[in-house]
């Protein structure tokens, strides 16, 4: 009410400084990660020089292999797709203060469920039925798997980081047990797999590209999760819980339900990544599903500071680095682990940069108190 009496000019000035403050505060979330990226690139350049390699050559190869041409862009985007889903599997529980590192398990089982449900359906049903069934099976399998992690956390008090990791190892046994056993396609004795789902049930590329639809779904998933987490009461409650569980419980929030639903949703998204691996790449479920996307997803989510919108560019960046790894290996005679070293450095520097938030004078609000 007091505002009404403020003179028009003064009010404008206030708005300006308010705007500036908001800009300063929000730019902090862009500038600091960018600075961290630059710093990690510098640190990695130092590392390369120490082992006698040229950083300039390295980064120009990364550019060329990951982003330089239309061909490399497509490679990068194909790789980014599973990373987006896997990162969401980390980002959603992270809002509740949970660190789930076993998204790989949900991805594997999602892919397996998709391949498994296709076995009885493919001979009797058209793709109108098979494709959604596979998609749902993958989402449910992944959702149950990570949902179980959430259940263990809330109702049994078992740390989600450890349990999700254990469940990853168990998921690989489940996959191998069935793929090498009861659900094995007998026509292929040398690569134990479920029966091929058939070309008509494969999900093709986005028209005009060689990038499969997983990327589009991933981007949509990021947008939806962002809306869910930032524009709904669910997201608000989740963030409150992540801030302080006891306070949230004290306010009567259904913490258990929030944990379960968030974990199940996260797992479902990782499972969908598995679906796309099967339906867009392999055409069947087999041990090739265990490719480490779930683990790289952890890095993506942390680099994106668990922000669903930031996950998209970060996943593309890491997809680009990964897809240029081969070129780096061939041209510079560097081992494939070079990419791991770079990723590790980026991760560490970014975490160090967390400490800068609210401490750099530039970003501090300067307007009214």
């Amino acid at each position: 009410m007091a505002e009404a009496s403020i003179e028009p000019t003064a009010r404008q000035g206030l708005m300006y400084s308010e705007y500036l403050d908001r800009f300063r505060r929000s730019s902090e979330f862009v500038v600091i990660p960018l600075l961290a990226l630059v710093a990690s690139a510098a640190l990695f350049s130092l590392f390369l020089m120490l082992v006698g390699k040229s950083p300039v050559e390295f980064f120009s190869l990364v550019w060329r292999g990951g982003f330089g041409t239309g061909f490399s862009w497509q490679n990068t985007l194909v790789r980014a797709s599973p990373l987006i889903f896997a990162a969401l599997c980390v980002a959603i529980p992270a809002r509740l203060g949970m660190v789930v590192i076993g998204g790989e398990g949900a991805l594997i089982l999602g892919g397996f469920a998709a391949g498994a449900i296709a076995i009885p359906l493919v001979p009797i049903a058209s793709n109108v039925l098979v494709m959604p069934a596979m998609f749902l099976a993958a989402a449910i399998a992944g959702g149950v798997w990570i949902g179980f992690v959430g259940w263990l956390r809330h109702y049994r008090g078992i740390n989600e980081t450890i349990s999700s990791l254990l469940l990853f190892y168990i998921a690989t046994s489940v996959l191998n047990f069935f793929v090498e056993g009861a659900l094995r396609d007998p026509s292929d004795p040398n690569k134990p797999s479920t029966a091929p789902i058939g070309a008509e049930n494969m999900i093709g590329p986005i028209p005009g590209t060689s990038v499969h639809w997983g990327l589009a779904f991933g981007v949509i998933a990021c947008l939806l999760v962002w809306v869910l987490m930032n524009r709904t009461t669910f997201g608000f409650a989740a963030r409150l819980t992540g801030g302080n569980v006891r306070a949230a419980q004290g306010q009567g929030l259904p913490v258990g339900k929030l944990v379960l639903v968030s974990c199940a949703l996260a797992g479902a998204l990782a499972g969908i990544a598995g679906y796309f691996e099967v339906a867009a790449i392999h055409g069947k479920a087999n041990a090739s599903l265990i490719a480490g996307y779930g683990f790289t997803g952890i890095l993506v989510s942390f680099l994106a500071r668990h922000n669903p919108l930031a996950i998209i560019p970060v996943a593309i960046m890491l997809g680009g680095i990964a897809s240029s790894g081969g070129l780096v290996q061939r041209r510079m005679d560097l081992p494939d682990a070079t990419v791991l070293v770079l990723q590790g450095m980026m991760f560490l520097v970014l975490l160090v940069s967390e400490t800068m938030y609210g401490r750099l004078p530039f970003f501090k609000p300067k307007g009214t108190t």
């Binding site: 046994s173 040398n190 055409g283 480490g292 081969g326 061939r330 494939d336």
Partner: protein
């Protein structure tokens, strides 16, 4: 994209039992081969694993010596979309016109897709998978290592005192089962009372479990060990440390076991690679399918180690000469483990019989349930 059924049996019958499938070679484009050629090679693991990948890398090194041939290599390429991307990158960025894809899971769908996409590039894959329904610029090459495992079995059967031999295997897939069967047939031929005990580790590379498997076999009374895992180093060294004899696999492990090494089953990919390079240099078309064993110098036995007795050497030398001359390994009566007959009494299976490519059983004499 995915061929669910293919009839490679009839194809192989038409081409002299799968020796050299030249039937389609007239269709090959010659334009792809100028005098200078860039060859791209993909490995699934590290190039120096004392095993499968090293066997290929050794051959690749020999290929580099050929004038006019440039070799680009990439290791640790997982059986995912990375395969297509690495191949495309080699083609588009390095100008590779001949690709060797050395891991089993690379073929379907990755080699097939790339062969369709790049008709001017030649793709060759290290497993007997090519059929005449596949693209004509793709092809298979394969060394039938089970022949060398059979010779190992002959030597090993004469080296045991407990009549128990151990086999550490990665996964129960066709080529592995076939090697176990041929090894067992060698053992049984010279020592009908002996049995071969198998432990599957479930992974192509899992050193601690491989060592545990070796110890478990030794504790169960086995006194000769061999294996089929990507890197046999751990099995051979563990056995040597416990003072028992060993037969090698994939590459030479003789230096790892100065006391107990008998002999080993080794690939000799260099024969094939050099042959390809020579054909390319001469402007000749590459065959779509080549496969062979001792007869074509595609496989070899490791030079005898200190663990080989006079009797074992003599018997193994004889057996190798016989197999080279075409004498069958599978001589009836042979039963599968479930009791059903594989080869009737008096009958034989040719060493290149396509039925053996579909091995999904272990024979009687192997202990594993």
């Amino acid at each position: 994209m995915i061929k669910r059924h293919f009839d490679r049996r009839s194809f192989l019958k038409g081409t002299a039992a799968g020796l050299v499938g030249l039937s389609a070679s007239g269709l090959l484009t010659r334009s792809a081969f100028a005098a200078d050629i860039t060859v791209g090679i993909l490995y699934v693991g590290p190039r120096d694993d004392f095993g499968w990948n090293q066997a290929h890398a050794v051959a690749a090194a020999a290929l580099k010596e050929v004038p006019g041939v440039t070799v680009v290599e990439e290791e640790n390429v997982p059986e995912t979309v990375s395969v297509s991307q690495s191949m495309e990158s080699m083609i588009n960025l390095d100008g590779a016109s001949l690709i060797f894809a050395t891991s089993f899971g690379y073929y379907k769908p990755f080699v097939l897709e790339m062969a369709a996409k790049y008709p001017d590039v030649q793709f060759r894959h290290a497993a007997p998978l090519w059929t005449d329904a596949d693209p004509k610029n793709a092809g298979s090459y394969f060394g039938y290592l089970d022949q060398a495992h059979y010779v190992d079995g002959i030597a090993a059967g004469l080296s045991t005192t407990t009549n128990k031999l151990g086999f550490v295997a990665a996964k129960p897939i066709g080529t592995v089962l076939r090697n176990i069967n041929s090894f067992t047939l060698g053992v049984k031929k010279v020592n009908p009372a002996a049995t071969v005990q198998v432990i599957f580790t479930g992974e192509w590379s899992m050193p601690v479990r491989e060592a545990e498997a070796a110890n478990a076999l030794i504790d169960a009374g086995c006194d000769v060990l061999t294996c089929h895992v990507d890197g046999p180093k751990v099995v051979i060294e563990t056995a040597e440390g416990r003072g028992i004899k060993t037969c090698g696999h994939n590459a030479s492990q003789a230096p790892l076991a100065p006391k107990g090494f008998i002999t080993g089953a080794e690939y000799k990919w260099s024969t094939i690679y050099k042959d390809y390079a020579a054909k390319v240099g001469a402007g000749e078309a590459l065959p779509n399918f080549i496969g062979g064993g001792f007869d074509k110098d595609f496989v070899q036995s490791t030079a005898y180690g200190a663990g080989a007795t006079e009797a074992a050497i003599a018997a193994a030398d004889t057996a190798r000469a016989e197999v080279t001359a075409g004498k069958p390994i599978f001589v009836g009566p042979i039963s599968k483990q479930d009791g059903s007959a594989l080869v009737a009494a008096g009958a034989t299976l040719d060493n290149y019989d396509p039925a053996l490519d579909q091995t999904d059983y272990l024979i009687e004499g192997v202990v594993a349930r």
